[in-house]
Structures are given as structure tokens and as C-alpha cells.
Symmetry: C2
Subunit: 214 residues, 2 copies
Amino acid sequence: MAKYAGVSTSVIRRLPRYYRFLGDLLDRGVERISSREFADITGLTASQIRQDLNCFGGFGQQGYGYNVETLHAEIGKILGVDKLRPSILIGAGNLGIAIANHIIFEKRGFRLDAIFDSDRGKTGLKVRDWIVMHTDTLESYCHEHKPLIALLCIPRQAAMESVDCLIEYGIRGFWNFSHYDLSVRYKDKVAVENVHLGDSLMTLSFNVGEVLDD
Amino acid sequence: MAKYAGVSTSVIRRLPRYYRFLGDLLDRGVERISSREFADITGLTASQIRQDLNCFGGFGQQGYGYNVETLHAEIGKILGVDKLRPSILIGAGNLGIAIANHIIFEKRGFRLDAIFDSDRGKTGLKVRDWIVMHTDTLESYCHEHKPLIALLCIPRQAAMESVDCLIEYGIRGFWNFSHYDLSVRYKDKVAVENVHLGDSLMTLSFNVGEVLDD
């Protein structure tokens, strides 16, 4: 039974945001904050924040507000960013390399252990601290090192073809940048986070249209 | 007055997803689809889809379902993906280059016209069809070419420092990959789409924890 089975997806989606803003406050030396001030910063309402945090037991004291350091640590623990889950990245194209270079995995609950690509021309390529391996070695790698998470920076078709194998090899979580939507098919077996940058860009397109009113 | 001022953010956020799935159906030669079948594909409920589309006038016929091509075109028009809004990308680091190479702007309502970076070592660098320009030339470029959209692939501090100028130069929309949250401060003046890849990764961290129950 999942620990937070009753908590809605939208509440969960707001937690990383709280965590991020609390981290900023910590960096600026802020020790405590009222839910109202916190609402101003995050662009939400104080009552929403209180409700969200109550799903996990509260953490605030009436009239005192939140202790920034404690709340940051508690939300971090709920999010599991204190873990270092063994992860692999598949697809050393532009996007894969950018992800490997750009993301600080260790602060988000993951440890990137290896990068794979099916293009032999990329085998041996150095990306930050990793040497790209050929996908032929993926199965034996998984048996030996037991990664739990796969970051998919591969095209749609390749993702469709490799997901079943990866699940068989023990992968339980996907950070999926391919255009193939994994969530619908595998939702009970594995955790999936689909990143559709195109969707985000289309949302901007809509909102720009609203601002420009053209 | 914005055209769709009454429509909620969550409905708008689902439109790109509808558009994407309808595009897949079109590619597979599907001509019409019931809201129930469409619900199965998208992982939503039929009533939610009907409600969402009713915000824009419906498009379906009782007992007939949706014409895939028409609905795809209509949602595309609402999203504004038929536009080619002049855009610039700022920050030719790993992420900026990956974004320039990876995203098909023309299918999302944008046309990427130029790439800028403050690092003189990058001036003249070729990225796909673009030659990186120095940010010193940004102001004169904006006056001459009047870009409407800026893609920010720069660090937090650089984003904080450049946003006011960019708005002054005529930028009305930001696709923001920096860790600086623009939305709260500028929400009425400009459209902002913040992409927090770290938030997405933390959401995966949470959901993996739920699946593994550790």
C-alpha cells in the first residue's frame, strides 16, 4: 500500500514547488514564514498551502507560521530527494547530453550511473563523468547494477520498443522525454513522469495569444 | 480583453495533450472518435473531455463523436500553433543548444529567429540554422526585428537581470528554463511558461517512492 495513496496528484505536483521556494528562502537566511507570506511568494493562496500541507500532517503552528528549515527538510523527505536511486540515461543525443550536463540528480533523489546509446558512433563518448555505452550491454548492465530508474531521451518508436524490456530488467521509474506517453499503459507497475516540452510550448503559445489578443 | 479569460488554467493545460493525441490519431488515419474512446487513449474521463471542449464551443455531435481532423485543427487554432511568432533564444549552453536542436518550433506556434549568448567565446558558433550572436547586440536586434518571445536558457541570476530589459525591448512571452520563477511578478504584462525540469524529477522521485513503498 502506497504511503500517500489518498493524496491527489495536484497536491503532489505542488510539493516540488514548495520545496524549491523553501530552498530559496533558506539560501537567503529566512528562518520562518507565515503561510500568507509563503502564499505571496509562490503565487498560491494561504489556505491552499495550509490544506496541501495538512495532507502530510501539517508542520505549521497557529500564529507562528512555518520553520523554513524544518519544512524544507520534511517536504524533501516526502519527495524522497534524500535518496540516491540508481539511474541510467538512454539516448545520448542533444537532449540526453543536455539533461546529463544540466540536471543535478543528487539533489532530486537520483544518482545517474550510466548513459547508453544504440549508435555505435557514440560508444565511448565522454559526457561529464560518464562514458557512453552501447545499448547491447544494457541487459547485462541492469542484471549487474540493478538500476531502478531510466531516463528516456530517445525517439518515440525506440521508447515504445524498449519499455517492456526495461521493466523486465527491473526498471521501476521512467523520466520520459520521448513523445510516447507511457503513463496510461503502465500506471500500476511503474512510476512515469512524461516531460512533453512541446505541450509546454503550446501552452505558452495559447497564453501569448491571450496577452496579445491577436 | 483576452478571448478565453473565463477558461481555467487546468483546462488550458490539457489542450496541448488533446492536440498531441489527435495528431497521433490523424497520423494513423483515424477519422472519427467517440469521447469515450478518446478518454481511453488520453487517460481522462469522457465527461471531462466533453466539459473541457465545451469551454470552447463543443465540436462534437451526440452519437457521432468527434471528427479527428476538424477537432485537431480547431484545437490547434485555439492554441495558436498556426502562428509563427518571432522568437529568440538566450543562452547557448548545453540546454539552449539542445532546445534549439530538438524542438520543432514551427509546429508549436513559433519561429526561432536568433540565438544569443553573453559568452564571447560562443559568438559565431553555428547551432542548426543559426549563428550565435553576442548579447551586446540584443537591444539593436530587438528594435530591428521585433521578436515577441524569448526562450531563456540562462542561469537564475542572468534571467533576473535581463527580464526587465527584454520586456522593455518588446518581449511579450517567455519560455523560461532558468530557475527564476517569472510568473508571479509579471503575470499581467507578459505570458510566462516556466519549465522546471527539477520539479518534474522530484515528482518522479515521489511517485517512485510510492511504487517501491520504501
